[in-house]
């Protein structure tokens, strides 16, 4: 499961990088490329967040319990 989360993060960075290439290129073509890449990046990010919420809810993955330690 951790590898899946990391793979999605890598993909998000790939699309952010693709958007920079579009920005650098400029013109109509570059602008199209940038917009599409940024759109993919937000779709993947929202998907990852919802997946994490869902996976946590049904118990696939759990956050480290360190946040449950009592204060002394």
């Amino acid at each position: 499961m951790d590898y899946f989360v990391i793979a999605v993060i890598v993909l998000i960075f790939f699309f952010l990088g693709a958007a920079v290439i579009g920005l650098l290129k400029g013109g109509r073509e570059g602008s199209d490329k940038m917009f599409k890449a940024l759109r993919m990046r937000i779709i993947l990010s929202v998907f990852l967040f919802i997946f994490l919420l869902f996976a946590n809810y049904i118990g696939w993955i759990e956050p480290n319990n360190f946040n449950l330690l009592p204060t002394q």
């Binding site: 998000i12 920005l23 400029g26 940038m34 759109r39 990046r41 937000i42 967040f49 946040n67 204060t71």
Partner: protein, 292 residues
């Protein structure tokens, strides 16, 4: 393009104003560190001069752009400049995430005797190699080392999760704004930009609230490696969100003034990328700092 004359900037007073601002800031900062009473006011004055310079200089560039002084060569220069800035930002956050990774995966386990198969005596009584390093040594007194007060960690599914939802929603609204700009829907563009800015401001408000809770629960910048990495990463991210909100507001103002059209909106694209990047950094923080 080959027939275009390269744009040579005219003489300007903004760089010297920037230098005066930076010098004032550091004189104030150095004296503030020595508890000199006028340190803080001079620091604030330095900040004010730098802010004045930034708005003035960028304002001059905008006026020149609107006045048609720039050609495609200048456009290319802007795009390269933004790309290098983006590269520096990626490296900046990579360094802090790298520090977190190094501390968690390597240095703290090493201190606990892992990997080398050799028993390492405890650094101090009660030392436990774990992440986060809850108990850190405090002052050395007559009775040995006095431990610092334990701190409570931020609950992942409270404000951090809510803030993740808020920032991702702002990414969605910005994408709709970008689409509206490309489609020439001016009113929709302004509405989506306003929503993005509002979400950014609410995020910052919650982040300040969370800092208040964390500080109240004893988590400080001095709370060992966890406290320092937590505040450095989330603090610099919060600073970037603040800058992003200011830039989005300037872009909204420029949209209202009619500075952009379907073909020419580089400033919007640059700021949009920056906001998407800040959004991704937060997602990384949520996963690697608050959760895993």
């Amino acid at each position: 393009m080959s027939n275009e004359k390269y744009y040579v900037p005219h003489g300007t007073y903004w760089p010297i104003i920037g230098s005066i601002g930076v010098s004032t800031l550091f004189v104030g900062f150095a004296n503030q560190m020595h508890d000199v009473s006028w340190g803080w006011p001079v620091m604030v004055l330095g900040f004010a001069i730098i802010a004045f310079m930034l708005f003035g200089w960028i304002g001059t560039v905008v006026s020149e752009s609107i006045g048609g002084l720039y050609n495609s060569q200048v456009d290319k220069s802007f795009r390269w400049g933004m790309s290098w800035f983006i590269f520096s930002e990626v490296m900046f956050f990579a360094a802090f995430f790298g520090a977190l990774l190094y501390a968690r995966v390597l240095s703290v386990p090493w201190l606990g005797g892992e990997y080398n198969n050799i028993y390492t005596p405890e650094l101090w009584e009660g030392f436990k190699s774990a992440w986060p390093l809850i108990t850190t040594p405090g002052e050395v007194g007559q009775n040995g080392v006095a431990f610092s007060t334990n701190f409570k960690l931020v609950d992942t599914w409270g404000l951090p999760a809510l803030n993740t939802g808020l920032l991702l929603t702002s990414g969605v609204t910005l994408t709709y704004a970008h689409h509206a700009l490309r489609a020439g829907h001016r009113n929709a563009l302004m509405a989506w930009m306003l929503a993005t800015i509002a979400l950014g401001v609410v995020f910052l408000g919650f982040q300040i609230t969370e800092y208040g809770h964390a500080y109240h629960d004893g988590l400080k910048l001095t709370s060992g490696i966890y406290g320092s990495t937590f505040y450095m990463l989330t603090g610099f991210h919060g600073f970037h969100v603040t800058i992003g909100v200011i830039m989005l507001t300037v872009i909204l103002y420029r949209i209202q003034k009619g500075h952009f059209n379907l073909e020419n909106h580089f400033a919007f694209e640059g700021v949009a990328w920056y906001w998407h990047f800040v959004d991704v950094v937060w997602l990384g923080l949520f996963i690697f700092v608050y959760w895993i």
